[in-house]
Assembly symmetry: C2
Homo-oligomer: 335 residues x 2
DNA sequence: GTGGATTTGTTTATTGGTTGAATTATTTGG
DNA sequence: CCAAATAATTCAACCAATAAACAAATCCAC
């Protein structure tokens, strides 16, 4: 560890001691030997320390999970039900009940839930206000306040973010490899989460990733947003089943724009695109190689998401874990 | 300063002393009084310390300037000549001669040139290799090596970057206000520089900003890149004069894509677009308000660049200055 | 086996940069 | 002219990291 961080061994020892006594690290069996010398002590993130509560409220389901420091899913609850008729207060109360069950089960298991993060399909401001969630029929909903109305969650810090953004983070955690990629989530609408150098790019106001409304055919089909020819009208969950070649062409045109603009080397298709991936791939790649200026220098890599419908809630839980991991001293002060 | 940084006054004094004795700060007249108490000592970046050499090699001109720590342009040389027939070695030798004149004049004036940065219209890798510069006819040119062949520049660290990227940085320096914006440079081709939170986003391989090849009309005019309907074919310097309404529509469609994707609140049009701005504005804004999903929540601000043709070389010089400013201790160790 | 080489981890004194409290300096306002 | 206010410096104390020596635990060669 000293070699990796550039710190001296003495410093690393002191810091590791703090993390062990603070319950963030545990000593485990030593790693396999590599040659002569005293064997190193194995270190691992503890499975019994702080954990993150990941929540998702989507059009047709509620979900809650608890993920520990090692990234393992320790609790998982999903409830399928159309949330559109409920209205925001009832929907968030139902999610609160689910979240409370997940939290209590996790804490009975020795975990300490450090915070919660909520994924919603809509535009969210930095303080958790859901400005618009078209497919839920929401407008200006104070989601953290409604969620904390559940007594068992009243003491938890709650953040809210767009569903595609958090799904992208969930994917990042799993893939490990590429720290820069675009995650495209095909649901009723089409959202995207942009991960640049391992960090989610949210935009100045948190409204980035609205790839569903990129113009593909300027005089094309009218969209419910008021414009014409939006990607969503050709590659959304409703347009997709009938006409995969057109959907692939539209996706390819939109994704080529992203790559030309941002030099993103990897694109991950998630949500409803996963089962269609084999049928879409060739058509998308044809447009990418034709329209991306640098495709001759380095091809764009296209793949299906590794996580399924859990991606957003996993990513949500991960933001909580990540906050602890990025500033463990703050967590130690808190305990 | 202590209040702003959160450091104690004692610490600030010590650091400021170092910067003054190192020749980066000077004491100036005190700021206007605000009430009782001992007046504060005024501090300003010194005009006689390190400076940046900003260079630009473009299709029809060469340019060099020296900018001091305060941001003032202390030397400026421009030479108009078509660079396409010359070839890379001759063009860079001519630019080297111009740069040497600028450097010598600046150093006679008490400045110390800390480094050079070069703007070129092409795709550049992280180590300064120009992979492709289509409008110059260049391919795989080691620009730093060719530039340092000029004896007076042999000792300077040289970086190379895309012209639109550096122009965006130049504009950032001047505007001061918005730390997140897209700069669109209309030349023979169309390039863009993306400034996110005060930092230039270059992409994984440094190939971001190729907005000229965003697809606007998928079955439209053939482009020299091999695709159809690229923005460049409708809003490039050659297509522009005839048909401003079409150009504005094409630009609006492409810029709406950028805003939907990245939530960028400000767009700056530079280069050849500056004289056309009044004629393009209305058409672009119409498309933006129609096609940007969040245009109802917060309108996109559109304006013409403040710097003219000097933007790229000013931005280039600024990268050198910025390196000193961001790590003054490294500069002090060097001297 | 035994001893040297090798690697890991701890101990110790030292360093460098920051803090906090007290002190000095310089102005305004009554 | 004095009190209040603000600015800047001095100096002892502290903290985190360093460097170097030392102790511990293993492999390997003989």
């Amino acid at each position: 560890m000293a070699a990796v961080t550039g710190l001296t061994r003495a410093t690393v020892s002191a810091l590791v001691d703090d993390l062990i006594s603070g319950g963030l690290l545990t000593e485990v069996d030593p790693p396999p030997r590599t040659g002569a010398g005293r064997p190193a002590v194995g270190l691992a993130l503890t499975a019994a320390g702080p954990a993150g509560l990941g929540l998702e409220l989507n059009v047709d389901y509620l979900a809650a999970c608890v993920v520990d420091l090692t990234g393992a899913v320790r609790q998982r609850f999903v409830e399928h039900a159309d949330q559109r008729p409920s209205g925001a207060p009832d929907a968030l109360a139902a999610l609160g009940a689910l979240a409370a069950r997940a939290r209590l089960a996790a804490e009975a298991d020795g975990l300490i839930v450090a915070g919660a993060a909520l994924a919603v399909p809509g535009l969210v401001t930095g303080d958790g206000l859901v400005r618009v969630a078209p497919n839920l029929g929401w407008q200006d909903v104070d989601a953290p306040a409604l969620l904390r109305a559940t007594p068992e969650l009243a003491d938890l810090p709650v953040t809210v973010d767009n569903e595609a953004n958090l799904a992208a983070l969930g994917e990042l955690r799993v893939t490990g490899g590429d720290p820069t990629f675009l995650y495209v989530s095909g649901e009723i609408g089409i959202g995207a989460g942009l991960v640049l150098g391992g960090d989610l790019y949210r935009g100045v106001r948190g409204w980035s990733g609205e790839i569903g409304h990129l113009t593909v055919f300027p005089d094309g089909r009218p969209c419910r947003c008021g414009a014409n020819g939006c990607l969503e009208q050709y590659a959304g969950q409703e347009a997709l089943p009938g006409d995969e070649p057109l959907a692939a062409r539209a996706l390819g045109i939109a994704l080529a724009a992203v790559v030309n603009l941002l030099d993103v080397p990897v694109i991950v298709l998630g949500g409803a695109y996963v089962p269609y991936f084999a049928r879409l791939r060739e058509g998308i790649e044809a447009e990418l190689s034709r329209r991306v200026l640098t495709s001759g220098l380095a091809p764009v890599s296209l793949r299906a998401a590794a996580l399924g419908a859990d991606a957003a809630m996993r990513g949500a839980a991960d933001t909580v874990i990540r906050a602890v991991r990025d500033d463990p001293a703050a967590w130690l002060r808190r305990s």
